[in-house]
């Protein structure tokens, strides 16, 4: 989903940067990084950065790699998640040439803003509405959030491309179906990995999730008597 340089017009690129800068500033203000969180965010970002190199095959011999935006957001919260994903995208662009620099704004908008905030918002709303307690329903919500997040990020990319017809050839009638078909599959993989990861954490280290701004709001954490030191 990384859009390389040469795919978007300057107008679209600049507009994307403008939106993204607003989110950066908000996120940065919101997280009020405490000292402890600096190494934590750095290390977790590194882990996801590494995990994103793992490719898996999708349709017609194409491959995709993990996006992880939803998982990051759900675990460390949307604001920290946005910063984390941004760091990853910048490193991918400047150290690997994966995704362009002029298109960095658009990539951040798709993957670090839409890809992170949408799943978090969905999960937050679901949780408010349904107050799920069973493992199955919680993980079901995780799946849906991750799936929709990935899909909407792809839709955003399709829109940006279609708005760039000065350099890019296709309009929304082509880009949208293409992206949706592809990402219905990638989205499932994304959702499955998110479910397994969060499921494992629920089992092994619920305390880690308890301090999460999103998952920590789950009803199962509410009347916990045993508190971590």
């Amino acid at each position: 989903m990384h859009i390389p340089d040469g795919y978007l017009t300057t107008t679209v690129s600049v507009a994307a940067f403008a939106i993204v800068i607003v989110f950066w500033i908000i996120s940065f203000r919101k997280i009020k990084l405490a000292e402890q969180q600096v190494p934590m965010m750095g290390l977790l970002t590194a882990l996801f950065f590494a995990a994103m190199f793992a490719n898996y095959p999708v349709l017609f011999g194409t491959t995709a790699h993990l996006l992880g935006a939803a998982v990051i957001g759900l675990i460390i919260g949307p604001f920290a998640g946005c910063i984390s994903m941004t760091i990853i995208l910048v490193l991918q662009s400047l150290l690997f040439g994966d995704g362009g620099i002029t298109t960095l704004g658009a990539n951040v908008l798709n993957m670090a803003v839409i890809g992170v905030f949408i799943p978090c918002a969905l999960f937050y709303i679901f949780n408010k509405a349904a107050k799920p307690k069973s493992r199955g329903s919680i993980l079901g919500m995780v799946f849906v959030s991750a799936f929709v997040g990935d899909l909407l990020a792809a839709v955003a990319a399709a829109v940006e491309l279609s708005l760039s017809q000065g350099v890019f050839q296709y309009g929304l009638s082509v880009t949208l179906p293409a992206m949706i078909i592809n990402h219905s599959i990638i989205g499932v993989a994304e959702g499955v990995v998110a479910v397994i990861m969060i499921g494992t954490l629920l089992k092994l280290r619920p305390d880690v999730l308890q301090s999460s701004p999103i998952l920590g709001k789950l009803a199962i954490f509410e009347n916990k008597t045993e508190v971590e030191p």
Binding site: P4, D5, G6, Y7, T10, F28, L33, A34, E35, Q36, V38, P39, M40, M41, G42, L43, L44, T45, A46, L47, F49, A50, A51, F53, A54, N55, Y56, P57, H65, L66, I75, I83, I87, I88, V90, L91, S93, L94, L95, F96, G97, G100, I101, T102, G166, V167, F168, Q169, Y170, V174, V192, V193, A194, I196, M197, T200, L201, L204, R205, V208
Partner: protein
């Protein structure tokens, strides 16, 4: 290397970074330019190319990244390998255009009742797009290969990125390698004890990936507590006062950036 597919990708990522580290330490034209000047010049080149629609002009400017590569001691084979994939993808992406663009047909056929024709305009459009994408990728890759992490950090410092963010970048970079090593060893250890090899994508391999990331996550989380303590013991503060030294902009850096920008602006306005 006998490792599961996904693992090999992870390791290839780390190796590629190490490769960048090496190249960026060589002595060459691009390595000698101040990273900020380089960034501005490359962005200028990319933006200018977006306004160029003449194929001949585009093909001509493609020489520039190649000249950069040669003068920066980047092995050409590596250079082309790294840039080929994205351009190839752009070419494949353009195939539909060939048929969809109205204009003079250069080739026509009727398949199963459909009238298909490739137009000259379509061909032009597709080629221009592909060539431009290659130019952009090649320019960016030259920035990547000649800069390396060390100088990237200096670049951030010179565009006034907050120091906390720079620290986050450093930590991410450093522990990327730790994560890779951990992922690698976990997968190998697992493989040494798994007797059935599953090559294709299936639920099991996604499950494995998920559970390995989860266990790495727990370890990473716990490690971060110890790293924090180690940092604190050595005087870590969120307002970092150990300023990152930024390389000075010398006359030759300014000359490099401005000449490129002026030249490309001129070409773009042709």
């Amino acid at each position: 290397m006998n490792a599961p597919t996904s693992l090999r990708d992870i390791m290839a990522g780390a190796e590629s970074l190490v490769y960048v580290e090496d190249l960026s330490e060589k002595k060459g034209l691009m390595q000698a330019i101040n990273p900020l000047a380089k960034l501005i010049a490359i962005i200028g080149m990319i933006i200018a190319s977006l306004f160029i629609t003449n194929l001949t002009v585009l093909l001509t400017i493609c020489v520039i990244p190649m000249v950069f590569a040669v003068s920066s001691r980047v092995p050409l084979k590596q250079f082309f390998l790294r840039t080929a994939m994205i351009a190839l993808f752009a070419a494949v992406l353009s195939t539909l255009t060939l048929f969809m663009t109205p204009g003079t047909a250069v080739w026509a056929a009727s398949i199963g009742g459909f009238n298909l024709s490739i137009t000259l305009e379509g061909l032009m459009r597709g080629t221009v797009f592909t060539v431009r994408v290659w130019f952009c990728v090649a320019s960016l890759i030259m920035l990547v290969l000649s800069t390396g992490f060390d100088k990237t950090i200096k670049l951030f410092a010179s565009i006034k990125v907050p120091s906390v963010v720079i620290q986050l970048f450093s930590l991410t970079y450093r522990y990327f390698f730790v994560s890779v090593e951990e992922a690698q060893s976990v997968l190998i250890a697992k493989e040494a004890r798994t007797y059935v090899h599953k090559r294709n994508l299936n639920l099991q391999s996604l499950k494995d990936l998920g559970s390995i990331i989860a266990s790495l996550f727990i370890r990473t989380y716990e490690r971060s507590e110890r790293v924090y303590l180690a940092m604190k013991a050595r005087g870590f503060q969120i307002e970092d006062n150990s300023k990152h030294s930024m390389p000075k902009l010398r006359i030759r850096d300014v000359a490099f950036a401005s000449s490129i920008i002026v030249a490309f602006a001129a070409i773009a306005m042709l």
